[in-house]
Amino acid sequence: MRKVIGFLLIASFAFFIVSLVARDLWIDDPAQVRTIGQAAIGQTIPQSGAANTVTAIVVQFRGLDTLGEVTVLFLSAIGVALLSGEFAGRGLNELFADDGGFILHYGTRLVLPLIALVGAYIVAHGHLSPGGGFPGGVLIATAVFAVLMTNVQQRLSTRLMAVIEGLAGLAFVGLGTLGLLGDKFSFLANVLPKGELGFLFSAGIIPLIYAAVGTKVAAELSTLVTSLTGSDKDAGPASVSAGGKGGAR
């Protein structure tokens, strides 16, 4: 019964969409609307000095969106940590009987620095090459997951991650208010010198903000997965700590 209603609803909705926009979307090419995106391409180098226009838009022109976005991740990290209080201390050894054995365990330890390095590279070069704070931050966090998934006894301290996350968040808001205090008197303004196009230290405030975003995303996602897997050193009564950091199994 649910399926029939669902299907009818979707079919009518699909007909509604197609009938209204069919001609517009599929048939005629959109009249060349002068979009703001094209204006942004022109404005990127003079206004922000970055080579990657998407980064210039994300960080500077529409900086508030990114602040909002980082807040959304912060929210979901808090939400997951709050809601997964029950799993604290039970760790992954309850879910996975063994973690893939010796090769995987030590293989990950070898690959770990490379993952983090690539992540850091992507964050640092956000304004020059594709990628930036978010994918780079996720890559760095992947290094942490690799540790957690390949060693079920591993416990990580979310207290440390919360501190890093808080500092990175305050750095972002601080950089934003830097614009307020300066002569430009506008939040998230790019007040630092723009430097030479294409060099690492160019595009003023953009690399700094993206570094803060990258660190914050990495810390948040690590907190999120650590609390989900319940391998949180600071919480939970029965947290089985496997003899300090990276102790042999």
Partner: protein, 138 residues
């Protein structure tokens, strides 16, 4: 160029339908990861490298990780519920899984439905056609 886009689109829709309708949730999650990677490829074809990297990193790697944890915690890696229509009705029998089915600390759920999970997650190479072998749950 149009040929690649057509191929990616058809594959995309096929896998997405699979992800929603396939019988076992474990396969559904793997299919979702595949769909997400294909979408990242589509973004590359649409000249959006930034978005492709982010989608690949967040969409396939991270989301799949969280889904696997969710499946593990709700004992539904092999849950064959009434929702899933596709996929063969699985015969009994156990695959040599990598993880031994240690009774969970709160073991009660396991004892209630009477079958101890022997089989592990289907081997990564299992193509969609050959479904994951596992106990068919009550």
């Amino acid at each position: 160029m149009i040929a690649i886009v057509l191929f990616v689109s058809v594959l995309l829709i096929g896998l997405a339908a699979g992800a929603i309708f396939v019988r076992s949730l474990g396969s559904a999650v793997i299919l979702l990861g595949a769909v997400s990677l294909l979408v990242a490829l589509a973004f590359l074809l649409l000249a959006a490298p930034d978005v492709a990297i982010t989608e690949a990193a967040i969409g396939s790697a991270l989301t799949t990780l969280v889904y696997v944890l969710a499946l593990r915690r709700t004992d539904s890696v092999h849950r064959a519920d009434t929702d899933g229509e596709l996929g063969m009705e699985r015969a009994g029998g156990t695959a040599k899984g990598a993880f031994k089915g240690a009774p969970r600390i709160d073991g009660v759920a396991r004892a209630a439905d009477g079958s101890v999970l022997q089989s592990g997650v289907s081997s990564a190479g299992a193509s969609r056609a050959s479904e994951a072998k596992g106990d068919s749950r009550a």
